[in-house]
Symmetry: C2
Subunit: 484 residues, 2 copies
């Protein structure tokens, strides 16, 4: 039987609903995206990041939106819309992309995203995710064990590290704060210990929970930027003495700005000693657990109560896709349900209704990409990705050390490397790159000083790209009179 639209349907619907139009536009999209990939892999653009002022771009889109309803036929991306989106977006698949911590997705996963977007199974309850819910349960149990979290471990997938860290701290609050926070509420006298280098979302989670500025207790770091164990002890005593009840300690694995891993073993011991929840914010670096070569800085992660890890950073999955792992899988129920804190058995029986454990009610089918990669390749693909990306940072560090006019911040422990041109205005230097291209790199501030920063996310960045990046920075420094 041939599918057809009934005559009472609006005429313009035919473009949206007939499989034939869908097939035609799909084939057009395949071609567009394949050309995009080819252009980027061959470095056809003079800049990774199209550069213009935000207000200018806003004006552009505001003008476009005024002219609505013009395209009755054809795909949504006719009239140059998609072409403009692609032209104006940051081009992550250019091997000269070394900017922020967002995956350069495995291209094929774009098609898997198309499939799950069409299926659109919402996953709040089992009936809305009959395939994706058990897949999530299976893969998260498997990966949690793989992280060394043991036989009782498990986890959930959610939309991003911010949400994962908040969810972990909600579980921590329920497990460790005196009273039943979910039922009785809490006063602003609880606190979380965290490095002064922690991502802002930890502080944000604490403030969302109503504990204000004082609820996030930032602990001083050593010169190597790890939490100082002595400061941890003295800060804990000081804050406890002031009447605060510490519920959790959060370790960075790694910090966003410089890629430094806290000493997780030390933090685990401290948490155990004082009966605190130990959460590892491994949004960026926990992925290194999949690498034999590069899992060293994660020693101790297996003692965490919870670990957040973004599949959309080092693991090639399109954003957002974050795993929140629990050493005790049933702790997941504590985050959102007071009942769960007391009735393990009942809740365990309801793993298939995922909204009991996830912030989201309706959720995307996040598990399909994770399960699909894992099933097809096991740890091998992720190991090779992680190793390649971390190796990029090491190659860059080595190159920097060969050049006397450059200073390396620290030997990279992950795919992040910070460095600077000695005596130069490095902020101006990075701005010159932004305006003139072709590379996209970022900057960070450490103790009030500016450092250039690369996060190598593109596995196709090769050694020559890295040498050329430094050459280009030197050239810009000279031509833009940035060199002192």
């Amino acid at each position: 039987m041939k599918p057809c639209l009934k005559p009472d349907f609006p005429h313009h619907w035919s473009n949206f609903y007939t499989p034939e139009t869908f097939r035609i536009t799909g084939n057009e999209m395949v071609e567009k995206l394949a050309v995009y990939l080819t252009d980027l892999q061959t470095r056809q653009f003079d800049r990774v990041l199209p550069h213009s002022a935000p207000e200018e771009r806003l004006r552009h889109w505001k003008l476009r939106i005024k002219d609505v309803g013009g395209a009755e036929t054809g795909a949504l991306w006719k009239g140059g819309f998609l072409k403009e989106v692609m032209a104006q977006s940051t081009r992550l698949h250019d091997p000269r992309y070394a900017g922020h911590q967002v995956a350069v997705p495995l291209p094929q996963l774009a098609w898997l995203q198309a499939a799950t977007a069409l299926l659109n199974n919402g996953m709040a309850i089992d009936e809305m995710g009959p395939a994706s819910s058990p897949m999530e349960e299976a893969v998260m149990q498997e990966l949690a064990k793989y992280m060394g979290l043991g036989g009782e471990s498990g986890g959930i997938l959610c939309h991003g590290g911010t949400l994962a860290n908040l969810t972990a701290l909600l579980a921590a609050r329920q497990r460790k704060a005196s009273g039943n926070a979910w039922k009785q509420g809490t006063e602003p006298r609880y606190a979380v210990l965290v490095s002064e280098q922690a991502h802002y979302c930890v502080d944000r989670a604490v403030r969302v929970m109503g504990w204000g500025e004082a609820g996030t207790v930032k602990v001083r770091t050593l010169s190597n930027h790890q939490i100082d164990p002595d400061a941890l002890q003295s800060t804990f005593e000081e804050i406890t003495g002031r009447g605060f009840e510490v519920i959790a300690v959060v370790g960075n694995a790694c910090t966003t700005s410089t890629g430094v891993f806290d000493d997780l073993e030390m933090l685990a011991g401290f948490a155990e000693q004082y009966d605190l929840w130990f959460h590892v914010d491994g949004a960026h670096g926990a992925a290194q657990v999949f690498s034999q070569l590069n899992n060293g800085p994660l020693k101790g992660i297996e003692k965490a109560d919870s670990v957040a890890m973004d599949f959309h950073k080092m693991l090639g999955v399109p954003a957002l896709c974050t795993g929140l792992f629990y050493r005790n899988g049933t702790d997941a129920y504590a985050a959102f349900s007071q009942k769960a804190a007391y009735l393990y058995e009942n809740e365990q029986d309801e793993w298939w209704n995922l909204s009991k454990r996830t912030f989201e009610c309706t959720k995307r089918m996040l598990s399909v990409a994770v399960f699909g990669i894992w099933e097809a390749h096991g740890p091998k693909l992720w190991e090779s990705l992680v190793d390649r990306l971390v190796d990029r940072a090491r190659v860059a560090a080595h190159e920097i050390e060969q050049r006397p006019q450059w200073e390396l911040f620290a030997h990279p422990q992950s795919n992040i490397v910070c460095f600077r041109l000695i005596g130069a205005d490095n902020a101006a230097l990075r701005q010159a790159m932004l305006e003139n291209g072709p590379y996209y790199i970022v900057k960070t501030e450490v103790n009030g000083e500016t450092w250039l920063r690369c996060t190598f996310q593109n596995p196709l960045t090769d050694d020559l790209d890295i040498a050329a990046l430094l050459d280009r920075l030197e050239e810009l420094a000279a031509s833009c009179s940035i060199q002192p």
Copy 2:
């Protein structure tokens, strides 16, 4: 220049990174999904929802995952993986889908999702969303005005209604709670007034903020299931008398379970009288603002301080994609920054760094689908979609009224209709449909009584499908001895 992988890359990478493989797998995907659509539009399956026990499905995927690393070549979905995902998922594009409130996506948007998944611009700061951030700003300002929220309005896009409602309540807390909640924290003495029919995520948001069970004050509803104005007044007085500080009143537009809209005009007046924040949870029904025929129940929405609306419910966008609109656009900054509450001007200048206003740091390019639809079709497409879906519920209600053995819960105000077979065990009846098919419908409880429930999300559901649904239920009642 031909793109190529350097010899030092792992061999198995070639499947992921070469544009040629990408093109081949893309074309395969187009074909697979086009066939899927055709099969569903022609009602080829005997059930919308593949039915089996959760534990059985978990066992299946656990077995599969043990056998990892088998498929070195080819796409991730070789070896039957994608075929199984599709076979085991709930089939929303079958015209006989009338289950939960999740969009049956406009098929072409799947391709747009593929494009944005590949681009993967994270949007935390302007440089990571040079196209998608100004698009979001432009379209949300435009749509907020279109909702009647006036010239100062604006909004943000986020991952789902739960997050949008929490974000709105965080803004409400900052604007209305005494003191500076973001800085000083809050005690569990604040409260939010809401109908007893509200979605669980409002209660969840309140508990996340640390106000416990008592923080959500559920107001009695009238026999028509709207908030009772007298109960609202007396509950407010009672809770205030007990020392609680009410910060907000939340209106349902509409309730999830029965599709009833609160009297938003009345709630707006009440909020104004007592200086409360007025939030409309319009996750499902605010979309009716785009319809001349069906915007009646939303009267008063233009007086809201904030409105949450899911594009992934009635508006055909794949999940998740929620708009959070503010009457005063700068209120968006209050949700996450104490500074913002006092320094409007500075914050206004930073609209391009979206993570100041959104919960998410890295975010998907949610604006592309919203802007793309709006630019191509203006309100016309959404108006026709909303009208068609609401009309489906009216057709069903009419059909039910023609059959004396059936009882209609209420005349539908949206695309949700509740009904029951008089004297039958309607829970068993719905279970029989689940097990035997072909339709997928759900159920709800009102005052302890079970009602069958349809949410018409598929615009291709036609009048004959609706009549056949009732016929099939009658047949199942007879054959399964459910009829009393």
